[in-house]
Subunit: 92 residues, 4 copies
C-alpha cells in the first residue's frame, strides 16, 4: 500500500541541541530509498507503507546505538484508494 508520511524524531536526554540526531535521522530516511523531503518540522516521505515503517524503525535503532537514550517520534500517514497518494498531490 502506497503512502505519504511525515516523520519528526525528537531526541530526549542529549542536551538542548538536537541537530546531530536530526541530521542522522534524515540520512537514514534517505538511505531507505524513499522520496524524502526535509522541512523545518520533519521529513515528508512517499513510498510503500511497509518501507516507511521499516525506515522509521531503523532511525530508532541507529540513534539509540549512537547514544540517544530516549526518542519521541511523531508520524503522519496518509493512504487513499481513490487515487495514487503522492506528496506532490497534497500541494495545491
Amino acid at each position: 500500500m502506497k503512502a505519504t508520511a511525515e516523520v519528526q524524531v525528537i531526541p530526549i536526554g542529549v542536551g538542548v541541541s538536537v541537530r546531530d540526531q536530526v541530521r542522522r535521522a534524515h540520512a537514514v530516511l534517505l538511505e531507505a530509498g524513499l522520496n524524502a523531503q526535509l522541512h523545518a518540522n520533519g521529513t515528508n516521505l512517499e513510498g510503500e507503507l511497509e518501507d516507511v515503517f521499516a525506515a522509521i524503525r531503523r532511525v530508532h535503532e541507529t540513534l539509540h546505538a549512537e547514544g540517544a537514550p530516549r526518542l519521541a517520534t511523531f508520524i503522519k500517514i496518509g493512504t487513499r484508494t481513490d487515487k495514487e497518494p503522492s506528496l506532490a498531490g497534497k500541494l495545491f
Copy 2:
C-alpha cells in the same frame, strides 16, 4: 525494540461521523494482542515496535477494504534505552 505509542486514525470521505471506523480501528489494534487503551484522542499502545507498525498497517488495510476511501493517521512513538518503556511509566 519495545515501544509506547499513540494511534489516531481519521477517515476522510465517509461523512461527518467517523464512529464506525474508529471503533473498527480500535478493534483491529486490540486483535493484535497489544496493550491497547482507548481515550478521546486515540488509542495508547505498548508492545514491540514492529508489532505496533504491523497493527497500524492492518488498520489501514481493514478500513480501506470496508469502504473508507482515505485515511489520515497520527502516531506517536516512544522508545528508550535507560529503562523499559511502558504506558504506566508515563503517568505520574
Copy 3:
C-alpha cells in the same frame, strides 16, 4: 467556539527524565479550569478554544520560567458545528 484537544509537552535539554515538567504542565492545564484528563501520551482537554490556547501558552511560560530551555508541544484540536464537541462524545 467549544473544542476538544490533546496537549503533549516535551521538554528538551532537561535530561532523560521529563517527569517534573510533565507534572507541572498538567497542573497548569488543570488550573485553567478546563476539563483535563491525563493519559500516557498527553492531556485531553475540553473547553473554549481561546481558553485552551491560553492555557497552553501559560504552560510554555511556566516551564521556561522554571528552567526548561526548550519545549516541543504537540496539540490536537477538534471543533464541529453539527453538535456540541465533547471528550465523552469521542468515545464509543
Copy 4:
C-alpha cells in the same frame, strides 16, 4: 514569546477531496502576517505564539463559516530560551 509551529487542518464531512479547505486555511494563515511555508503535510509558521494561536482560531472560524462541519487540526509548537527560535534554524 516567539515560536515556530506547524499546522495541518483536516476537514471532515466535506468529501474525499479537501483541497479547497486546505487552500483556504493556508490563505488565512498568510493573511495573519506570519512567515508561512506550505509543505505536503501542513504549513510551517514562525511568529509570536499568541499570533500563531489567533491565526489558527481564525482558520477554524473561517472554514466552519464556509460550510465545513468538522475540523481536526494538528499543531506542533516549538519555543526556546537559549536562542531565537526560527524555521531556518531548524534546518541543517
